[in-house]
Symmetry: D2
Subunit: 342 residues, 4 copies
């Protein structure tokens, strides 16, 4: 199989670096173009020092001068919306890692992102392979899910489909790489470490993304609350999914079996046996989502825990998984390494 | 005012060390006895190296040979239950930091702690000054609250008293010092850092403690779910309190005002203005509980956040606060220092 | 004893915050003025959230409008040099925490700080009480030592005075608070944590400061090399002092006795018995310098280790210690609390 | 090329886990046997939860029942010495990760390891490919280097060969995984984090290993001092190599060129351009050794910095590199992934 040419648009950040880290060893990929307006002409290792030995440098081409089979857009929302159509027009397929194309309801987008959508006409497939694999195969534009929605949705699907609950509280703990490569007060080591920071309480943009997917998916109208926390961890999102069973004759074992069956054919979703609890350290650097710790208390509370690496299954790894599906590669190509533990 | 003689029983652990750190500078206290069976004869700095210069060593006396005005028991539950009565019989007042005397319903204790209670006849006051100050004054036996219940209850009291909610989900994130001074797999640095570990899901012993207090306190029968997480932080418990308003005409500002009024006379509970969010780093090493981040989403979810230092307001500091109340000292004596930020 | 009025100039940073944290409980101090040009009118807790309850706000007065007995200048070097003379002219005593007045040899200053010194005529006392206590008493201008020099010099004095070595290698590991309150790539959590960064190798500005003090102090011309490292720690500098004994009949015990005797009257320098090793965690938040781990190998290498809190003994605590000496207070006033361990 | 059968003896610890993590994706390896006396019958993921999906369990066979082409011994020293000869006798090649076979001078081993060597007759090749590649090819027994010696020796070779220095001070900072999988006071999170612990000062067992290799290698008799520090990092050893040039007409650029030329054909040793400084975060999880930060001060001090992942280039990765050389595989097989940054 010959290699496809890949471009990474806006490759100076963590998701860009992670795409390169993973793609340099992909058996069917040639990284042809990596762009960064601010870093044009610099070797990629100036921003991503782990890429020592990778002979790539940032360029700043016009979209019309890019000639790839697929581009990943790692631009911020708003910026991505402007450029993605140009790549599509030039016959390139696109996986967009921003929030710009994730909503089928444009009004929701415009309300939560507080900007007008420039291309409401573009149809994207929400790139969570576990729910949309068939649509992803033929898509030209994939909206790669947000990091919180990935772990939040995967931890909720079986109980939403079975209509076992009508309200879900997602309490998520995210590593600081989720805040991006740019330093800020929130990511300043002396106050970021040895600390926990809830943020965007009741108004984080991933809330409507999770709600839309779960409501499209379930038949009912499940309510979803979402609260993110910044934790002193580099990578990873652990989501504690709290809900309350509507039926009383269900055991924790039943729920475990439900999840295990639901994901039995999914390579990248591991439902843990023996009630083991997912750990960020088990999925660090890998594309796996672990689900476990399934428990019920005597007041009908159900807890389910999921763990992902926010930069891999929560962003760049999932983007590559989508690409693999789009081009008929093995879904695990470039993604078959295990987590870095410890 | 002359000084009182204080003993610390089981002083080898973190709460024992913390009692010494705080009491050496208390204006009305003489630390007379610090006990540790395993460390008899050793200077305290062998276990607590910050106590360099403090001329105390561990002893292992019979309770009948201890002659103090008050003893703090920092023994584990079960062990504490055996010794506390002897100190009481010898006319010493006791603040017990274990779980042994926290329950008015002995059956709850015996079920959750899985052991027979040896002294169901002993009456203790639950030592949360913010609800029991008047009873603490004259008590001979104080059951110092658990670390999670302290922050969990303080974050819940106003909405429970007002019966604004009928179910509370406490998602707590605890620093590792809460696991004690003894090394274990769970506290081993390489897997404890850069990680988040939910544990005792749906079966942590602090659950019934929180439930009993909130139900005694409120008139209704609020349901409480509690899920603790071990986070890579030395000290501190941040509790994210999720609930759902039963009435729909209440704003986040109303809730803020409710909390501010409720705690307006409490020195050690700070309700933060301007919707600032409590931080572990703000209370590190101090006896303060910060409450803030009060928010409502459009599906009636209410979030309230509390932060304490688990070893201070969550254990040793609160124990000293109780002692101050018992002996008529200023409630802030020995506790008037600020958090260590950064 | 009545209280003195104190001002803190440039109080928005970590050393400013730390001065407030320590001075609010000082028995003889009234904090009268805290300045910050950029934060004029804001409560101090907006930048230092541990100061919740401290009713101070930043002002931006002309030096001529400040009326204090003493001001601490926590301005950056260069800026401090401009303002300090105005405070002196207005009859205030000054402790300057910048590098501006630390050098008796102005040429050294101008070479290493790469700027012209505006006030070479001003005479300052280098504020390391352990060598200059008598001069500090009457000084109007104290140059508070740098954080690295404090631990580096204290770990070297006895062997330099005794001329036991002619070359010292100081390999220092500093917490990130030493980089200040302003976020930067170097302090960005995702790459700052789980990492060690040597920096300013062979050209850090504290090198000449250490050299000048040790050469003034010893009779010989000891060579000093200094290499700082940024380590994922909030506070603290651990300095590993490597040297090579010029005489061969000396044991590690001899060196230990030399250090113990040398510092036997110093409250804030603790030479640890039993070859215990200083730990950042033992001095966290306190004004102590611990010295220990004294060892010799079979190729004449001597190792001595020192540990301080860079923001306390390495900056604000030492500044207060200097103030206490200047005003005849007890040297431990406001500084008598122990380290926060764990 | 058919696959070789590989055994891992003593696979319950971190180096065992790391061998599995890396070998499951090695193109020419079949992991046949993984042993652990204490964990016989358990799936490997009970100890190494990142190995979810790897269908291996611990066994406890007699060496005579193991039938592999090569075994890696990850046993502790002393234990390894007893079993390794049995594997050799059964015609298996062995890479031993303990210290048992690293010394050509058995007396040095017996003095520093404080035990009698049971098999002084066995000849092993010191498995640092950068100095012994040719001997490794045909060896049946490889003594895989210690973690500190790997980075310490690689940072010293060029200046030792050129006899530019006669004394080297290695100040090393090691991640906590170097202490192994077993919890202890030293690795207990609350005191291990936010702290730096020098240890084994002047008497660490890796000292004589470094000395022997550098003295065998250079023609002169370079003195070497070595001081390790435990730093709050999971993986990685950063070594700051301090020395003093014997000749005065050499520049930092000359030294840089010397290192670059020296390692120009080595895939896994990267001498960084532009005086960039090696970072643990750049080599995390990878087999690379980065060397850089080469600087000279005005008192002839030379600083060279090296960074490795202690579990990979410092242990299991290097062991696989040795295996690749022994069996004629590509030296990068199974080791071609990049560091995990951030």
């Amino acid at each position: 199989m010959s290699k496809i040419d890949v471009g990474i648009i806006g490759a100076s950040g963590y998701t860009g670096g992670e795409l390169m880290r993973l793609l340099v060893n992909h058996p069917h990929v040639n990284i042809k173009t990596v762009t960064s307006r601010a870093n044009e002409g610099k070797p990629v290792l100036t921003l991503h020092p782990n890429l020592e030995g990778v002979e790539l440098e940032f360029s700043n081409p016009d979209p019309s001068d890019v000639d790839c089979d697929i581009v990943f857009s790692a631009l911020p929302h708003g910026a991505s919306m402007k450029l993605v159509p140009e790549y599509l027009d030039n016959s390139m397929r696109v996986v967009d890692l921003s929030g710009d194309f994730r909503f089928s309801d444009i009004k929701t987008y415009e309300k939560w992102y507080d900007m007008e959508h420039l291309h409401p006409e573009l149809e994207a497939v929400f790139g969570l392979p576990e729910i949309n694999r068939e649509h992803i195969k033929d898509a030209n534009l994939i909206a790669n899910p947000g990091c919180f929605p990935t772990g939040g949705i995967l931890s909720s699907l079986p109980i939403v489909e079975e209509q076992l609950v009508d309200r879900i509280i997602l309490d998520s703990k995210s590593g600081v790489s989720g805040a991006g490569i740019k330093p800020s007060d929130n990511t300043h080591y002396p106050t970021c470490t040895d600390n926990i920071k809830p943020y965007s309480i009741c108004n984080h943009r991933h809330t409507p993304e999770i709600r839309e997917q779960l409501r499209n998916f379930g038949s009912g109208d499940v309510k979803v609350s979402f609260t993110p926390h910044l934790v002193p961890v580099i990578r990873g999102i652990l989501t504690t999914n709290h809900s309350f069973l509507l039926k009383s004759d269900i055991t924790a074992d039943d729920i475990y079996n439900l999840y295990r069956d639901y994901y039995k054919d999914e390579t990248f979703v591991k439902v843990l046996d023996d009630n083991r609890i997912p750990l960020l350290a088990s999925v660090r650097g890998s594309n796996y989502c672990q689900i476990g710790g399934i428990s019920l208390d005597d007041e009908d509370q159900l807890v389910v825990v999921s763990a992902i690496d926010n930069l891999v299954k929560g962003a760049s790894g999932q983007a590559i998984q989508n690409m693999n599906i789009m081009f008929g590669f093995k879904e695990t190509d470039g993604l078959d390494h295990l987590g870095l533990y410890p």
